[in-house]
Amino acid sequence: MMIDTAGFGTLSIILIMAAVTVLTRWGGIFLMSYIPINYRVQQFIAAMSGSVLVAIIVPMFVRGDMGAKAALLVTLFGTLLIKKPLIAITVGIFTAAFIRNI
């Protein structure tokens, strides 16, 4: 099914996108309210919360260009070695910008 982007079409497309996104924002807490939070569920959630980040970052590294890879590596080692995350991020971003402009 196609919706014309002329007239009210755009508005209805935006409303559909908004509805789908709200569904994802509310769905997690809605489903969890029916699941008894026992020890096992807590283990699952605790393991999952770090894994979400890993599953965002690792493919970003793999598919990224040299600039993206460098930014993440500099941030990684900078945070681990100097323990100053904000500085590590800043240097990482500058590294990406530098690599992409040479």
Partner: protein
Amino acid sequence: MDTNELKFEFLEVKAGFISLIPISLFVLVFGAAFGLAATQEGLNQSSTVLMSTLVFAGASQFAALELWGAQVPIVPLAITVFAINARHLLIGATLYPHIQHLKPAARYGAMLVASDANWAISMRAFTNNDTSKGLGLLLGGGLALWTFWIIGTWIGFYFGDAIKNPSTYGVDMVMGCFLLTMVLDGKKQSKTFVIWTGAAVASIVAYLYLPENTHIIVGALTGGVIGVLIGEKKNDD
């Protein structure tokens, strides 16, 4: 804990808003890039700002532009938006134990502004048992990200040309690098690395072989399952 009803404290929400302003400035730049990209696809200003206000999920909004034309295929659009934003389901599930004692309106209201950055930073506060700070970061930080995303989108119509290609300045890496520092923060056990390795491998496999945009949810659920499998058994469970 179970008997107390939680609520948002104004000062904590304000502090959360302020804490997220630095990263929100980058969100502003991205918003402007989105505003510019939307004009190039022929969207008008009010529609674009409305989209950023109601949808507030950058990656899915950019993906929608890919499908934009005189007509938009609605089912592929809905599926794409759902797949990219499905990580919000996980965000909600991980937040639930910490926000379940909020009144339902407050709980569902706060989730409207739940996004990667304020989720990651509030989870850190919740893990340290600093519940009121975590709630402030979730809501206040979310409001900051949302506000700057909307303003950025609007700015894109006027100054978009200045940031036509934000990746030249490395701006596209800000969120990834920020989330990376969130992963590195906090206490870790040897089990944590097993879980993450599983999540990493599963996300790569999904990225290479499964439908587009499924890698986050596949990696995260794999990590969760591994966490249960290698976790200690508890008798009262």
